[in-house]
Amino acid sequence: MTATLPHVGRARRWPMVGDPIYEGSRIPKRVPTIVDVPAALRETDDVLQVNFGPNHPSTHGVLRLIVDLDGEKVVGLSAVIGYLHTGFEKNMEQKTWWKAITYPERIDYVGYQNNELVFVLAIEKLLELEVPEKATWMRMLMCELNRIHSHLVFLGTSALELGAISMFWYCFRERETILDLFELVAGQRMHTRYFQAGGLAEDIPAGFYPEARSFVERMPHALDDYLTLLDRNKIWLERTQGVGLLSADDAIALGQSGPVLRASGVDWDLRRDDPYLAYDQVDFRVPVYNGGDVYDRYRVRMDEMAESTQIVRQCIDRLERMEGEPWIADDRKVVLPPREELHTSMESLIHHFKIVTEGYRVPAGEIYVAIESPRGESGCYVVSDGGPRPWRVHFRAPSFAALQATATCAQGSLIADLIAIVGSLDAVMGDTDR
């Protein structure tokens, strides 16, 4: 079934050849991450320079913003990152391919399944490995659950930052259900490492589908609750609408992706426009809003949660018909042999030993794989020299790109807006700093 996808939002508007791309730009200057204090203001004694972060309640970890304030108004801003740099890319070069799979999850520790997927897809492409259909659909299901999870964390924390403290708990109630599902499948709540090169680490456990289905039934009601609490709340609307503006052109120029880009009126979603897994076989819509403000970013994510729930439902429907099918590729050079074979088959024992100690070899080459993670385009550039370890791994982190837009969004805002803006860009500092 190849579904026709109804497009939400206005007609496409791509920057065409010869289009003045930066017209009406709010990009502050040649360094897009810095807003300078106007010289006239700097000479007066009224500007107060404040360090927001790296230890601050609402910088999502360790983002540091050096803010110049004129009263409550933000007149100067520069973002400083790197406080969570842990050298994942260097570490991965020291690990065998299959051990390295554990690292990407920890990079974006909120959208972990998606990050894991992008690395696994890169390995599989280099290996030219066929993945069984069941694994593909299960991956899609997990990724969409993860997308909902990530958006719930966004919604909870950004509402908390605007003072709606209870939203945090309501969102985490549903998040808890998702984490329970992950635990059921993989034994871990976060950082599941459920995706292997070639398929899945384990078969889908019995009892997963009813649990997942009951979640799918519940989620729309939960979304209604959130909408009732926030969207009908005058204070919430006033705090978010018209705040943190980012034009479509600026968003593209600044390399934005995902919900931030779609909230600026660009109808772009890699799941639809560059389908991976089996996204061309499920029915979903891509929400696009034109305001480019905090409110629209929140709405895009709300709509995406609803759409993701539908994708999860379709995945369950499909997976239930695949009972008993293989969940990992039948390639003994890459995939660990079944446990029971180790006791009977010498070859299996050797394969197991080789894969565990030395690791499998991946043909030499370079590849860039991009998927639509909850935060936007999550890319993975991998170079292999044909050995058992990656030569170079680099992650295109959507949070990294999103934070570059902080200064553009925050021009002329108040302190309180700044918090809303940073929240709406939904950056995960692990992803930004890697």
Binding site: G82, E89, Q94, W268, Y381, G386, F400, A401, Q404
Partner: protein, 182 residues
């Protein structure tokens, strides 16, 4: 042969795994990027990666840990490569991953090669998104970008020595900053 021959400073094109890599001359990378953005429609700079190919396809050692003498039966993971990969033209490659926001999501990898100490033109004026990306590669790989408005370290400390993602950066050990002698 293809549409990319018109890219300023064009050197070669390769296709692999459904991806197009266009190698351009190091000195003309900004022109090539401007061309790709304005004429070819690659409106977005997805990513910018530098790779260090020091000791690439060296003496049959996979990765770079291990003995330079090659295979050492007493050391795990030093088994030589089964096939030597192709040699690279220079030590560093710099890949610009471009994306066009149109049907089919075409992607393009613009690549240039440089040796240690070579500089390359900054493309911040083409895509503002390149600001942090270039700073990151400068920070971790030590590649200098000419004309970058604010080429400072991004992820590491400002006074950090060395560029950690280089292959010759020491893996173990850490200089002791405060020893008892001080």
């Amino acid at each position: 042969m293809n549409d990319f021959a018109k890219v300023p400073g064009y050197v070669s094109t390769t296709e692999a795994y459904g991806e197009t890599t266009v190698v351009v001359e190091r000195g003309r990378i900004r022109e090539a990027c401007t061309f790709a953005r304005d004429e070819l429609g690659f409106a977005m700079l997805s990513d910018l990666v530098a790779t260090d190919y020091l000791d690439w396809a060296g003496k049959g050692v996979s990765g770079y840990i291990g003995t330079t003498a090659g295979r050492d039966l007493n050391m795990p993971m030093t088994q030589g490569l089964q096939a030597l990969p192709e040699a690279k033209p220079a030590r560093f490659s710099l890949s610009y991953h471009l994306l066009a926001l149109r049907q089919g999501a075409p992607r393009l990898r613009l690549q240039c090669w440089l040796e240690d100490g070579d500089t390359v033109d900054s493309v911040v004026s083409v895509w503002p998104a390149a600001d942090w990306l270039e700073r990151e590669q400068f920070d971790l790989m030590g590649i200098r970008f000419d004309g970058h408005p604010n080429l400072a370290r991004l992820l590491m400390d400002d006074d950090w020595e060395g560029h950690p993602l280089r292959k010759d950066y020491p893996l173990g050990g850490e200089p002791v900053r405060f020893s008892s002698a001080e």
